[in-house]
């Protein structure tokens, strides 16, 4: 069998490093390898690279350079936001998060509740949106943090983070948003946002690096103790090539944003239009108020993990929220929170485009998908309702 080029439509999981990013990083492995904390020339060179990267990201984000804390990625940034805020209190307290947050937030909140903290998990509507009024009602005198993501990683739905931020500001409660999927794709005005998490590898940057934006004046307890890097908020020798790559990925994303997201939006519209023609299909998430690169569907009578493997046979990479694809055999908490019936949550498919995605990739998906769905339905005991 001739292996065709992989059609990669799993860019919400990770993206290929952009050539420009790889190029920008390259000198920092073998030539400019200094430790940014060292006094000598090599150290100063590394330090300058980190400084310049920080400055560039701050300019695009609209923050001050000293409001950025580089981390090992978004899981660490989310944990630092949630735990770093909560652990300032010696006497427990209350955290608010949506039910459809990434596990990096939800599991951190869970960990806190096992240690005496209380949490309110906000329900979402059938599209996956949090009602800002529900945030207002959930806030208590002892609320330490509100965390609601900017755009959902599974279904793409955008949250009203502007309104939620305002409500938090009025109540004097710090507001964190996980912007991993949204950064570089949609406008992210920082008004009302106190903490914001970003990961490089979702944006054609390298794996293992990200940052947490921490608004000036917001206090955090560090999770990593040591040499006092990142102004004491995150110890550990700076990942210089990673940080340089993150900055270059940011530059590319912001400079190309209009063109790239317009292309993504047109891919998404086409995918939704075509996939809706397959019998027994539903779109999960909001049809319009969505991140441009994510589309999520459920198919009656088939199971998502086998659909992924069937598409893999056609050289197409996508992902699913099916229980069978998860290590603990539970269906996606996001789809369940949207009220998708379990049988349909098992048959979910997420396709997500990147800056490298072409029309031909979408053609290949739309050719293969109806065939893959049909083949699995042929062997399913369940028939699609007429």
């Amino acid at each position: 069998m001739v292996m065709n080029k992989l059609v990669y439509l799993d860019n919400s999981a990770t993206t290929p490093v952009a050539p420009e990013v790889a190029e920008a990083m390259r000198p920092f492995f073998q030539e400019r390898y200094g430790n940014a904390s060292s006094l000598h020339a090599a150290g100063r060179e590394a330090h300058r690279a980190v400084d310049a990267s920080r400055q560039l990201i701050a300019e695009h984000l609209g923050s001050r350079a000293d409001e950025l804390v580089f981390t090992s990625g978004a899981t660490e940034a989310d944990n630092l936001a949630v735990l770093g805020t909560a652990l300032r209190s010696d006497s427990g307290g209350h955290i608010i998060a949506s039910r459809i947050e990434h596990d990096a937030v939800l599991q951190a909140v869970q960990w806190l509740t096992e240690r005496g903290y209380e949490a309110t998990l906000l329900d979402v509507d059938k599209f996956g949106r949090v009602d800002p009024q529900a945030v207002r009602e959930a806030i208590r005198p002892d609320t330490l943090l509100v965390s609601v993501m900017a755009g959902n990683n599974e279904v793409g739905t955008l949250q009203p983070i502007g309104e939620i931020g305002e409500i938090c500001r009025e109540a004097g409660v710090p507001f964190h948003t996980d912007a991993v999927q949204a950064y570089g794709k949609i406008e992210l005005p920082l008004d009302g946002i106190d903490l914001l998490s970003v990961s490089a590898h979702k944006l054609h940057g390298p794996k293992g690096v990200g940052f947490l934006y921490v608004r000036n004046g917001v206090k955090l307890v560090p999770l990593l103790h040591g040499g006092g890097h990142e102004r004491g908020r995150r110890s550990g020798t700076e990942n210089v090539p990673g940080i340089v790559g993150l900055a270059e990925a940011t530059r590319l994303a912001f400079e190309e944003r209009e063109a790239v997201t317009e292309r993504m939006r047109s891919f998404r519209e086409r995918i939704i239009q075509e996939v809706s023609r397959i019998r027994g299909t539903r779109l999960n998430g909001h049809p319009i108020d969505s991140l441009p690169h994510i589309a999520n569907f459920s198919f009656e009578a088939i199971e998502g993990e086998s659909l992924i493997m069937k598409l893999d046979e056609f050289g197409i990479a996508a992902s699913t929220g099916s229980a069978c694809s998860s290590p603990n055999l539970t269906a996606s908490h996001v789809l369940v929170a949207l009220g998708v019936p379990l049988s349909m949550a098992h048959g979910s498919l997420r396709v997500s485009s990147g800056r490298q995605t072409t029309n031909e990739d979408i053609d290949a998906l739309l050719d293969a998908l109806p065939v893959a769905v049909e083949r699995l339905r042929e062997i399913s005991p369940f028939k699609v309702g007429g």
Binding site: G280, E300, A301, I302, E303, G304, E305, S306, M309, E313, S322, A323, C324, S325, P327, L329, T330, A331, V336, P341, L342, S343, M344, H346, G347, E378, I379, S380, P381, F382, K383, V384, G385, G386
Partner: protein, 172 residues
């Protein structure tokens, strides 16, 4: 994570599809993991007058492992006497596939249970004596199905219309 053998059976599954003139069906399912397996057997007498699984087929809603194990159990049971087929275990299914990821081992149990249930249904309708081991496994499978249905009642939704006559176990 999957062996070549698993992928092979998933891509070109053996004995797939519905059977019209079956002798009995075994229906098992685990909506928690999202897999449901219906196994059809056609039983005929061989020259020595023994009951033989002359034909077998299946319909499965489930993951790669569930489909591959459906295919494998049908290969393992086909042509065997009822007596022999009772002794096909989930370990046989898994090892014939070159192993399964630990989290997918329950899929092989599902396949073995489906065969077990089909044989149980056949022996029951023929008013034959049910071997004790078979009876025990049937009791366990029924109990699990009921418990799961109860636990997930609110979430089940409709997986689509079933168009196979009910036979013994309830459609999950």
């Amino acid at each position: 994570m999957y062996t070549e053998k698993v992928i092979e059976h998933f891509r070109e599954p053996h004995n797939r599809g519905k059977m019209e003139d079956y002798s009995a069906i075994g229906k098992v399912g685990n909506i928690v993991c999202g897999d449901v397996m219906w196994l059809y057997i056609k039983v005929e007498k061989d020259d020595a007058g023994r009951d033989i699984i002359a034909d077998i087929s299946w319909e499965t809603f489930g993951c790669t492992a569930a489909i591959a194990t459906s295919s494998m159990i049908s290969d393992l049971a086909k042509g065997k006497t009822i007596e022999e087929a009772i002794h096909v275990t989930n370990q046989d299914v898994a090892s014939e596939l070159g192993g399964l990821p630990p989290v997918k081992m329950h899929c092989s149990a599902l396949a073995a249970d489906a065969l077990n249930e089909a044989i149980y249904a056949y022996l029951t309708q023929e008013h034959r004596e049910i071997p004790e081991a078979l009876e025990k496994r049937h009791a366990r499978v029924s109990k699990e199905v009921n418990a799961l249905e109860k636990r997930y009642e609110a979430f089940l939704g409709s997986p689509g219309k079933a168009d196979v006559p009910e036979q013994g176990s309830k459609q999950p």
